[in-house]
Symmetry: C2
Subunit: 312 residues, 2 copies
């Protein structure tokens, strides 16, 4: 498979493992890159020191390209970029912020810059800012999400019509069949989160991985819409938020309820009732914890089968 | 194109025109059936007398098969079935209700029965009830919608895994590319609503059709979630509902605000600010009013191109 995404990242398959807080450290990123996809370290839950350690370990664990996901609203964003430059890791996926703010600076340092969007409007801004590719993430995706609630099926063709740069589809993609469907809709590659969050190499707590495999349809829901929308598993914490919202709670009350460290508590420390469990709707299709390399291999095999079927 | 859906309905292409209140009368159904798809009369906004008139006119306008969509919560449901039997139209798409209630009776009268679902769980109930095929409709679809908010990209593979009967994908499908993607995900055919609602033969008011062509991403939203979720265009009525919900309004207040005849007011009478305008997210891709036959033709052409592209 050779296309604009495999060329841009110098990888074998256009499968990108999402850079997810508390889930994607060096072990997962290296495993995906070694399998021919693109691994990403999720820096959004790392101090600069921790990120540096993960980059060093990832370089030791793979000779293939890997990248780092940096949320632009994160306090350490500039320090994270400095560490990446120092270690020669010049592939960054930025998210949650204005792509115009850092892209020129990053490009001057030789970075390949990909930005995550939830609308065609934002994709156009990325292209104008000089971003190399966009990830377009639909409503069904886990974690933080757009306010317009546009689904992958609608979003991908809209973004494809609006920009020329390479397009990576995210949200609902966990299989080779989903990968082919996304490419039919106009994507050049896919970003997979939930299935890798539940992989053996994921740094998520075992209890969270177990929970992902148990999720059925309807078990995740977009929450905290008045603060910043985030797709969560319905658990005790989700219910508390939901009840407060239905009572008409103000932003301050919601902010207080959210508090600090809820995501770590749920995903990394394994408190699956009181913690914030970010996962996509597609978790309903994930029923076991597998090695990340096996996931890449299965996706490619299924992609090839689906491609043959559709042409018969 | 020959598959389980074209065989079941004896049609050329597995494209079903959704039976939509206030939009799909005999003109639209006949035009779609004449073009090789399956046209549906939307009986949910018709008295038995009006349905009878539409069936009679539709039979005069096409020799091809067509069907009727009947919401099972509708007051005239049994009378509608009687009229269908009397006129020999034995193809029914039922929605919004329990498929077990009428399916056995309908099958005894020789009906082909298709039921609309928003979850794999409901699809299994349909199969158990003896339904011939299901329409699985994602969160992005216009009009009434499931509470679980599962998107087309996630829903289709889940339903495919759960039932053996033929599967029609709905929600977000308006193009040949969307049709191919849905079939890659496991569908045997597609149901298209929004694009046909804006067709020349649609009985919708010109002002509503115009509005559909103007919809941009983010301009529709799932509303009235505490009553029965429905995807609407954001207009003055939508805003009133939204404000009331944010104030924590009770069911009675919402019911009163909705009142009677809002859907007719918006879609048929053309009051695009005070009326209820049901349309899917994919309206963001629809930019002109076309003849329904041209829509079917364009979809098939694009489907063939996309199919060739993906195999290169």
């Amino acid at each position: 498979m050779n296309n604009r995404i495999t060329s841009l990242f110098e990888i074998e398959y256009p499968i990108i493992q999402a850079g997810m807080i508390w889930c994607s450290g060096w072990r997962l990123a290296a495993a995906v890159s070694n399998a021919g996809g693109l691994g990403l370290i999720g820096a959004g839950s790392m101090t600069p020191e921790v990120l540096e350690e993960h980059i060093t370990k990832c370089k030791a664990a793979t000779n293939r390209p890997f990248g780092v996901n940096v949320p632009l609203i994160y306090q350490y964003v500039e320090k994270q970029f400095e560490i990446m430059v120092r270690h020669g890791v010049k592939l960054v996926f930025t998210s949650a912020g204005n792509p115009a703010k850092y892209t020129t600076w990053l490009k001057e340092f030789g970075f390949t810059v990909v930005h995550v969007v939830a609308s065609a409007r934002s994709a156009v801004k990325c292209e104008q800012a000089g971003v190399d590719a966009v990830v377009a993430e639909g409503f069904e995706a886990g974690g933080h999400n757009g306010r317009e609630e546009t689904t992958t099926f609608t979003l991908i063709p809209l973004v494809r019509k609006s920009v020329q740069i390479p397009l990576i589809a995210a949200g609902g993609v966990a299989t080779g069949r989903g990968m082919l469907a996304a490419m039919v809709l106009g994507a050049d590659g896919v970003q997979v989160g939930s299935r890798f969050a539940a992989s053996e190499e994921s740094s998520a707590h075992q209890a969270f991985k177990q929970k992902i495999t148990e999720v059925k349809e309807g078990d995740t829901m977009l929450s905290l819409k008045r603060l910043i929308p985030v797709r969560l598993i319905r658990n005790a914490f989700f219910q508390q938020v939901s009840d407060s919202e239905n009572r008409g709670a103000g932003l301050e009350e919601l902010q207080q309820l959210l508090g600090k460290g809820r995501a770590r508590l749920g995903m990394f420390d394994g408190n699956t009732e009181e913690g914030e469990l970010e996962i996509g709707q597609v978790a309903a299709m994930i029923d076991r914890v597998q090695p990340a390399g096996e996931i890449v291999k299965e996706m490619i095999e299924e992609y090839d089968i689906a491609r043959k079927e559709i042409t018969q």
